[in-house]
């Protein structure tokens, strides 16, 4: 009986099996794992899914959470419509 998917990144539809396969291919750090699978590259930019992905990475590679670190949170940390960024400067 096949079970349903365990979604890790719901923004980009990346599940735990896809992460494990990417790790097996050599994505043994968060940044490569993110770039290969696309986790954390969607609308939320990896806010909560990074915890799940890092836990998985830690369990597979044996690296500690601290050593694995975080992905880079660039601005804007919430999506901002272009028209506000194009606003008139006072």
């Amino acid at each position: 009986m096949t079970t349903d998917k365990c979604m890790v990144c719901t923004c980009e539809d990346v599940n735990d099996i896809e992460l494990r396969e990417a790790i097996a291919r050599g994505c043994r750090d968060l940044e490569s794992l993110k770039r290969y699978t696309g986790f954390g590259t969607g609308p939320c930019q990896g806010k909560a899914c990074v915890t799940l992905a890092r836990r998985l990475l830690s369990e597979v590679t044996g690296e500690s959470v601290e050593a694995l670190g975080a992905i880079t949170y660039r601005p804007p940390v919430q999506p901002v419509p272009l028209r506000f960024l194009a606003g008139d400067e006072e």
Partner: protein
């Protein structure tokens, strides 16, 4: 709505406008987060990424065909003559919302502006920690700007009926009054979206740099002598098959639905962890039937377009329409990371190291690790005092 790759059904999930499970097209604007967008008479709301409807999406076949995984890296290569066709189909499938209508139906006739402000202390987040920090800083004679991204101040206080014996909303109102009485400025629906530590030609600035805040129809570039980040946490999803089904959500998301919006997340609720007990109790008081109290974790959620059943670790299968999870909350450290704050591990998450924050940068409340509203208030009070004291030592900007 339906998800991007697998076209899985999605619905209300985080409740804070952070994830991408409730994106709809509103008045011609795509990718709007329904969970934080107040409904208005006459609003036109359309589903996205589903044909012919979210309930019956033809493309859900992708989820059934690719039962295990879908790796787009080694597909659609052969035969090469089909490359333009592949590209056209993939672009169509991979795109999410449609380009906004050129004349969106918008009530706002105000042209957006960008202004600059200088303050002693900028506090990000008006939950218990942020409110306490802003109050302490303002009472410490600092000029204070408090930015809260939700449309109401209070944060977790709004979700607790017992904070030191009193209703959390009353505690929030009192703290808010203290901030205002001491001359602090409070902006709701205002999100600090970035700490910029370089200028447009590459000159570096010390943290917190320029903090850009998006508020009503304008952006404020804030130059603050001190920044207090009291941004709280993101609920981390639990990992079990079917964890993304509509009706499966974090405990806090269910509390937001109940206490902020007066909506019950479900009638038959399964709790997946003891940490969700508070939410379970409040939902039960509101009339829901809690069929599992977290004594055995959920190992699978099942259903069509909504959760209908769960299987627990002890083997029981229960009929439900709502599943709550909690645990491993992820601190919202984005702004702190931009300021160069280092992190330490705390279980499976990273938290800021409060002793190693750059000068002028302070953190308080759940962003340092999940705590109670009272603890968050104490943490905020201390941070606000320190921030005001620091601001006094800084030369005029």
């Amino acid at each position: 709505m339906r998800s991007i790759k697998y076209h899985r059904p999605r619905g209300y999930s985080c409740g804070t406008g952070k994830c991408a499970s409730c994106l709809v097209r509103v008045d011609g604007t795509p990718n709007v987060r329904a969970c934080v967008t107040p409904a208005r008479d006459g609003m036109v709301v359309e589903t996205q990424n589903a044909f012919p409807s979210a309930r019956r999406d033809f493309f859900a076949v992708v989820d059934k065909v690719y039962r295990r995984d879908f790796d787009y890296h080694e597909k659609f290569i052969h035969p090469r003559v089909l490359t333009p066709l592949y590209n056209a189909v993939i672009r169509r499938m991979a795109g999410f919302g449609k380009l906004p209508d050129l004349k969106p139906i918008s009530r706002s006739r105000v042209r957006p502006t960008i202004i600059k402000r200088e303050v002693d202390v900028l506090v990000v987040g008006a939950g218990p920690a942020g409110l306490a920090a802003a109050a302490a800083a303002a009472e410490g004679a600092a000029t204070v700007l408090l930015a809260e991204e939700a449309d109401r101040e209070g944060g977790s206080l709004l979700l607790h009926r017992d904070v030191g014996g009193r209703d959390g909303t009353l505690v929030a109102a009192e703290l808010l009054a203290r901030v205002r009485d001491a001359g602090g400025e409070v902006l709701a629906s205002s999100v600090a979206f970035g700490c910029y530590l370089t200028d447009g030609v590459g000159n570096k600035m010390p943290a917190p740099g320029i903090v850009a805040v998006l508020t009503h129809e304008r952006i404020i570039e804030v130059k603050a002598k001190a920044l207090v980040v009291a941004s709280g946490y993101h609920e981390t999803p639990a990992l079990f098959p079917g964890n993304d089904l509509p009706g499966v959500m974090g405990a806090r998301a269910a509390l937001i639905l109940l206490h902020k919006h007066g909506v019950l997340a479900g009638q038959r609720v399964a709790l997946s962890a003891p940490a969700t007990r508070h939410a379970g109790e409040d939902l039960a008081k509101a009339g829901a039937d809690v069929v599992a109290w977290g004594e055995s974790p959920v190992v699978e959620a099942m259903g069509g377009t909504h959760v209908e059943r769960v299987r627990l670790a002890d083997g029981r299968e229960l009929r439900v329409d709502c599943v709550l999870y909690a645990g491993d909350e992820t601190p919202r450290v984005e702004l702190l990371q931009q300021c160069g704050a280092p992190f330490v591990a705390s279980g499976w998450v990273l938290v800021p190291d409060p002793s190693k924050l750059p000068p002028g940068v302070f953190a308080a409340g759940d962003v340092l690790g999940a705590s109670s509203p009272l603890d968050a208030m104490a943490s905020g009070e201390a941070a606000g005092e320190s921030a005001a004291a620091f601001a006094r030592t800084v030369r005029p900007l």
